[in-house]
């Protein structure tokens, strides 16, 4: 694929003696939505976090937008500004209001004026449906509202790609839908996304491709219709049997 935005080439990662990413190759095109699934401990989070270098890799290369990931420093900060990250536990800045959470990056990293950042921030909060919560602190919001705020915070940087690490796993069931709805909107709008999730419904409807990981390896990848209808490997069949029977 020539228009790949994100490329992982023979990536390996160890935590001590634990080999968590084994020769991982993955290429994500601009505008593509890739859902990563797999059993617990298979390395999904590590894969996701290595793309904006929250985890460093031990061998192989990761390129973003045609350039290898920079080491520490300004270049790395610039890369991270272009890659939005949404965490399982939201990680909103606890001492700041929702709007200040959303404008911190644009004003300090992108050097936008406060007025511009606030205007665009409010527009994004409107889009994710929590404009009325702009002045509150994170602890005053429900989990679903917090996660939507975290998505708005990432979007405020006008990222070229977004990484989601189990964005709905910490939510009460009744709040999962509102977050997935925002993510589906982003996917339809052409955002490049890598989404680690256990939400098979989202994978079916919003993904262009499903990547199945086990033991630090990408075992299988296919468009969702194909993957869910006839998984090729025993491990994927096994995994699907477990999650879909719930």
């Amino acid at each position: 694929m020539t228009d790949a935005l994100i490329t992982l080439d023979a990536v390996n990662k160890w935590f001590g003696k634990l080999h968590v990413l084994r020769d991982v190759n993955l290429s994500v095109a601009a505008g593509e939505v890739v859902v990563v699934i797999g059993p617990s401990g298979s390395g999904k989070s590590t894969l996701c976090r290595s793309i904006n270098r929250l985890e460093t890799i031990d061998s192989g290369t990761i390129t973003f937008d045609g350039r290898p990931l920079p080491a520490e420093g300004r270049a790395l900060a610039r890369l991270r500004a272009d890659v939005g990250m949404v965490f399982q536990s939201f990680n909103l800045f606890a001492h700041k209001t929702i709007l200040d959470n959303v404008t911190l990056g644009p004003t300090k990293v992108r050097r936008q004026s406060t007025a511009d950042a606030r205007a665009y921030g409010m527009e994004l909060l409107e889009r994710v449906g929590i404009a009325d919560q702009a002045g509150k602190h994170p602890a005053q919001l429900s989990g679903g509202q917090q996660q939507r705020a975290a998505i708005a915070r990432a979007l405020a940087m006008r990222p070229k790609a977004m990484l989601f690490d189990e964005p709905t796993s910490a939510l009460d069931p009744e709040m999962v839908g509102e977050v997935l709805e925002v993510m589906t909107g982003l996917a339809k709008g052409g955002m490049t996304m890598i989404v680690v999730t256990h939400e098979m419904g989202f994978a079916r409807h919003a993904a262009d491709r499903v990547v199945f990981m086990a033991d630090g390896q990408i075992v299988e990848q296919a468009p969702p219709a194909e993957f869910f209808a006839q998984p090729r490997t025993e491990r994927a069949r096994d995994f699907l049997g477990k999650v879909l029977s719930h």
């Binding site: 890369l79 911190l104 990293v109 602890a139």
Partner: protein, 237 residues
């Protein structure tokens, strides 16, 4: 007990001297302590090593020894710490500007010593900020210093305020040692002046000195209790 009516001005001057030394040392130690704390968590290993070495040395040497070095080693190096004769400041805090350097020496020693404890209190506060906060800041593209300034430190200060208060209270009590190194015009210096030189009874003089320290430390302690209670309330809201 006539010492109180006769010599109240001596007590008062000693009290003022202690207040002045403690104010200087507290401000100095908070600033230096924040700097050393930043060194200790810096991503650059040599800077980290400097911070760690500083804390290890000053936390594990008795204050008396630090005072000794300030009072006897600085003069050997040819310094009477006159860099502390800061214009403006020396008009408000008179002992800074005197020819006798002992007030300055003791203040430097108290500051350097307290800095190590301020650093550790701050570091405990920084450690109590959830890791996800710094990760979120990094993934927005904030630099190390922006991350500290806008995300980590504002939260760490609040978490460190109670341990910091304990450090400052300990510092006020530690300041008593300055009298042994020639600083006459402090609370403990009152003992030297009234008991050793003017032969007043030791017990009432020490009582007066104790009251002087309590006037400084008890309100600080009450303030800390209040902060702690209001933080608990926020936490359980």
């Amino acid at each position: 007990m006539e010492v109180f009516s006769d010599k109240l001005d001596v007590f008062w001057n000693g009290f003022l001297g202690t207040v002045q030394m403690c104010l200087l040392a507290a401000v100095g130690a908070l600033i230096l302590g924040a700097l050393v704390a930043v060194l200790r968590i810096s991503p650059i290993p040599p800077l980290r090593a400097v911070g760690t070495a500083y804390v290890t040395v000053f936390r594990n040497v008795p204050l008396t020894v630090v005072m000794f070095f300030a009072a006897f080693a600085l003069p050997l190096l040819g310094s009477d710490a006159s860099f502390l004769k800061i214009p403006g400041l020396r008009d408000v805090i008179k002992p800074l500007g005197t020819d006798l350097p002992y007030f300055r020496f003791a203040t430097i020693a108290l500051t350097l010593y307290t800095t190590a404890f301020v650093c550790e209190a701050l570091r405990s506060g920084i450690g109590a900020v959830p890791l996800g906060q710094a990760e979120a800041a990094r993934s927005l593209g904030l630099s190390f210093t922006q991350n500290l300034r806008h995300v980590v430190l504002p939260q760490a200060w609040k978490l460190a305020i109670v341990p910091l208060g304990s450090v400052i209270i300990a510092m006020v009590k530690n300041s008593a040692l300055a009298a042994a190194f020639g600083v006459i015009v402090t609370l403990m210096g009152v003992v030297d002046e009234l008991v050793s030189q003017q032969y007043y009874d030791a017990v009432p003089v020490f009582l007066g000195v104790a009251v002087g320290f309590l006037i400084l430390t008890i309100p600080l302690g009450l303030l800390l209790d209040m902060v702690e209670r209001s933080q608990k309330k926020v936490a359980t809201r």
